[in-house]
């Protein structure tokens, strides 16, 4: 349902992503893993076009955009692709001047032009789903990181996107708080939400994802089920990386 073809991303002379082609079927949960600077965040941001590829094409459902060097993709088609996605950020990025429920309602009111009552009902439903209904009227500044991230997940889901993108959703949280976020994402995955996440949280990747993509230096090194990539990696480089995070997590557990 999501198709990335021959994605290339350069900043000046630096090549961040090299000819990446991947497809994510509907209902799948994929984790982009790999060392920092390997391109996983950039690739994720290429899906909703917060980062525009230098070349290649991005297709989500029926909407697609092609990129080529020296040519600007039309704003309308970028909007169309982006509107198929919801995004969760590492630092939550809730709107600080709006309450929890207003954050969730914002896109429905401004973009979808829903009525206030309808938007409020939908937002309440989503806040309940992420276990935040009791904090609906709280300001983001008065919520814990885990609570903010759960509100952010509800906000991303509000317009019923085809895919939920998560950029390091647990990296700014301590293990306890990240557990509540992993739980919420796990529930969404069981319900069939299509998700792509960039993460180096092994717990998140192994508990939630069914497809793991290992990226390094802007290239896909290995791709397979979570079981396969984490337990029996084919490539030596993947083995090294997995054992290093395994060691770190065994020690902390």
């Amino acid at each position: 349902m999501i198709e990335l073809s021959h994605i290339e991303k350069r900043f000046g002379d630096a090549v961040i992503l090299k000819d990446i082609s991947l497809s994510f079927p509907e209902g799948s949960v994929s984790a982009l893993v790999g060392p920092s600077g390997g391109g996983k965040s950039t690739l994720l941001r290429c899906i909703n076009l917060l980062e525009q590829p230098t070349a290649g094409s991005v297709r989500i459902g029926a909407e697609s955009v092609d990129f080529a060097p020296g040519r600007k993709a039309p704003w309308q088609s970028i909007q169309k692709v982006r509107s198929q996605t919801g995004m969760v950020f590492q630092n939550f990025q809730l709107f600080p001047h709006r309450t929890a429920i207003e954050n969730v309602m914002e896109g429905l009111l401004v973009v979808q032009k829903w009525s206030r009552e309808k938007a409020r009902a939908r937002a309440m439903e989503l806040l309940t789903k992420v276990g935040m209904e009791h904090k609906a009227d709280a300001w983001p500044a008065n919520l814990s990181g885990g609570q903010q991230q759960r509100v952010a997940i509800a906000r991303a889901l509000a317009p019923s996107p085809k895919v939920l993108l998560c950029d390091e959703p647990t990296s700014a949280l301590d293990p306890e708080l990240s557990a509540e976020v992993v739980d919420v994402l796990g529930t969404l995955a069981k319900e069939g939400t299509t998700m792509v996440m960039a993460t180096h949280d092994l717990r998140l990747a192994s508990q939630v994802a069914n497809l793991v993509v290992f990226l390094e230096a802007g290239q896909v090194v290995e791709i397979g089920s979570a079981e396969q990539v984490f337990r029996n990696p084919v490539h030596e480089r993947t083995r090294q990386f997995v054992s290093s995070i395994n060691a770190a997590q065994t020690f902390s557990a």
């Binding site: 509107s83 919801g86 950020f89």
Partner: protein, 226 residues
């Protein structure tokens, strides 16, 4: 009753009337118009293509680099030579608006830049376009940051309107001058005028704190200091 107090009380209605009729409308109008001009200028500088941002920069450079009094003289006494005749109030309004526009554009530009890039990304990710992101996400947060510096500009403006006396606007300060001309009591009258300006700016300072308090409800600076 001492003579000085009697004089102050007698002249108070005249001075207050000049304030109500000229100082206050001039201040409010030029602040509102100047703030709009400042917003347009700031957006032009931050997001405009180069000719637009160059024009914005040129405008700020000229206005900030020349004395306000000279600008008022150019508009009121100078422009008639090229056939543009303005009444004193209009000339003052144009002068102060241009001035406020230039100074506030820098405040607004800084305030917009102070909103983290992630907020733009969050707004875009919820499907907003540039205009919606600006209006719903960026400007509300920028407004909060810009309340103290904009209040500075506003308070300076109240006092600067006294310069309009020099281009024949019969505002508060000029009516004090007129009374001095007949009573020969400059100390008493000018102190009285100063007290009225002080009262006006105190009202504005109070409004500033109310506004800051309102913005503080969503957490942040004010609460952190408590």
């Amino acid at each position: 009753m001492p003579h000085w107090l009697q004089l102050m009380i007698d002249s108070l209605p005249t001075l207050l009337w000049a304030g109500v009729k000229f100082t206050i409308p001039l201040t409010l109008l030029s602040f509102v118009l100047g703030l709009s001009l400042g917003l347009v200028t700031a957006v032009a500088r931050l997001f405009g293509p180069w000719p637009v941002s160059a024009i914005a920069r040129f405008y700020v450079w000229i206005i900030r680099g020349t004395p306000l009094l000279v600008q008022l003289f150019v508009i009121f006494y100078g422009l008639p030579s090229v056939g543009i005749l303005l009444d004193a109030f209009t000339a003052a309004l144009i002068g102060f608006t241009l001035n406020v526009g230039a100074y506030t554009s820098e405040i607004i530009r800084a305030a917009i830049s102070s909103v983290p890039k992630g907020q733009w990304e969050a707004a875009y990710s919820t499907g907003m376009n540039w205009r919606q992101a600006m209006r719903r996400t960026i400007l509300p947060q920028a407004s909060r940051v810009s309340v103290p510096p904009l209040s500075n500009t506003f308070i300076s403006l109240v006092k600067d309107t006294s310069l309009a006396a020099a281009i024949t606007v019969p505002e508060l300060f000029q009516s004090a001058q007129r009374i001095v001309a007949t009573t020969y009591e400059p100390l008493i009258l000018y102190i009285e005028a100063a007290i009225i300006y002080l009262a006006l700016s105190s009202i504005l300072s109070h409004l500033q704190s109310r506004l800051e308090f309102r913005f503080a409800r969503y957490g942040g600076m004010l609460e952190a200091n408590r």
